[in-house]
């Protein structure tokens, strides 16, 4: 009775491990693709749901209605992104981002999720600047 309960628990844990490994590692080993990699893939990349990673090209961010468009660059290739899902508060020029969506036949990446990749730098604000937590309320 007790043994079967523990074996059931172990089976559930084992199944969860398998699920996490399959779900996670399948996509995780290549968590995102760079613009260069998606373009190199050619037509097979079209309409395939992927993550695109790179930096927001400074000066490229435009907002029209609920759509935000910007360029993601990996240093050598730029890819145009059209996002309809909103962006986190830390989204800005030069920021590392991971964008979820698909590369369309129109040559643009259609995104519904924009994630900000923090660079691991921690520093106090410049003198005279009083930060407020409202800055992090987000608009996504």
């Amino acid at each position: 009775m007790k043994r079967s309960r523990v074996i059931l628990a172990l089976a559930v844990i084992g199944a969860s491990l398998g699920w996490v490994a399959a779900k996670g590692l399948a996509g995780s080993l290549v968590y995102y693709k760079t613009p260069t990699e998606i373009l190199r893939q050619g037509s097979s990349a079209v309409n395939e749901r992927v993550r695109l990673g790179g930096y927001v090209q400074p000066g490229s961010v435009k907002r029209t209605g609920t759509t935000i468009s910007f360029l993601v660059t990996d240093g050598s290739t730029n890819m145009s992104v059209l996002d309809t899902g909103g962006v986190p508060a830390l989204f800005r020029d030069g920021q590392g981002v991971v964008v979820e969506g698909f590369y369309g036949a129109d040559g643009a990446f259609h995104a519904d999720t924009v994630l900000v990749k923090h660079n691991g730098v921690y520093r106090p604000p410049a003198p005279g600047v009083t930060p407020t937590s409202a800055d992090l309320a987000g608009n996504g």
Partner: protein, 262 residues
């Protein structure tokens, strides 16, 4: 056979053990208070993340305790297999429980932090995925420990899981270096420049130190509870087996004796 000297020694041992426990508890409270003051009041907010960056001071210490706990489980498991002394098994069990607690805490705090800064509670990035696997491995370890079997056999199985499971710890740590991830890489570098302001680094280090004291305190408490559990078990079995309690407790330190449960 057991003279007054022996009894006195035992009494003294117990007293000092309890006193050591209290001193450790007091140190932990003082250190955690200092950490809270540094984290919430003294340390400045981050230029980009504002006050959300203060999660650094508890998220990183929690993750550190996960590594530390499972390293202790590994060492204690190896020691158990070599010596077959149940006290090593007890230490591995205590450390694994604390480790599971802090792995879960690191994930929860990371999730709370991820929402405002990354823009998501969760994503299947390598660091997050391998950490979820880490949690499952050691929850599994604790489940193996609940299998009704002879203490010696159960301890042997647990030790094997405790040794093999540890392989995920370096994978979790190096995942952000090996693979592309959303999670940031190391902020503090032993070689080269750390990318954190000195005051914030100080708060982080005090956080790590105070959490380490907390770990020692929790393991000490759990070890005492473990000994009490064995005592209760021995007292319950004593009339059935017709052996004195003391003998059963001592036997628990010998390999292959006393079958419990089943």
């Amino acid at each position: 056979m057991r003279g007054p000297v022996h009894s006195a020694e035992r009494a003294l041992g117990k007293l000092t053990a309890r006193r050591g426990e209290r001193v450790l508890g007091l140190l932990t409270v003082v250190a955690l208070s200092a950490s809270a003051i540094l984290s919430l009041i003294v340390s400045p907010p981050d230029a980009d993340q504002k006050n959300a960056a203060r999660l650094l001071y508890i998220h990183v210490p929690s993750a550190w305790l996960a590594y530390l706990s499972f390293a202790v489980v590994f060492v204690a498991s190896v020691a158990y297999l070599r010596t077959r002394k149940i006290r090593w098994d007890r230490l591995a069990a205590a450390s694994a429980e604390v480790g599971v607690l802090f792995t879960a805490l690191a994930i929860a705090l990371g999730s709370i932090w991820g929402k405002p800064v990354w823009g998501t509670w969760w994503t299947w990035d390598p660091r997050l995925t391998t950490t979820a696997i880490l949690l499952l491995i050691y929850v599994g370890y604790l489940a193996v420990r609940k299998l009704p079997d002879s203490p010696a056999r159960r301890a042997r199985w647990a030790a094997v899981v405790g040794i093999v499971g540890f392989v995920d710890v370096p994978i979790v740590h190096l995942s952000v270096t090996w693979w592309r991830s959303l999670h940031q890489g190391a902020t503090i570098r032993l070689l080269g420049r750390s990318t954190i302001a000195p005051m914030m680094l100080a708060a982080l280090l005090v956080g790590v130190a105070s959490f380490t004291l907390l770990y020692l305190y929790l393991v000490t408490l759990r070890l005492r509870v473990g000994r009490l559990e064995e005592r209760v078990m021995a007292e319950a079995l004593s009339p059935r087996l017709g052996q004195p309690v003391e003998m059963l407790v001592e036997q628990a330190d010998e390999p292959g004796e006393v079958t419990v449960g089943g």
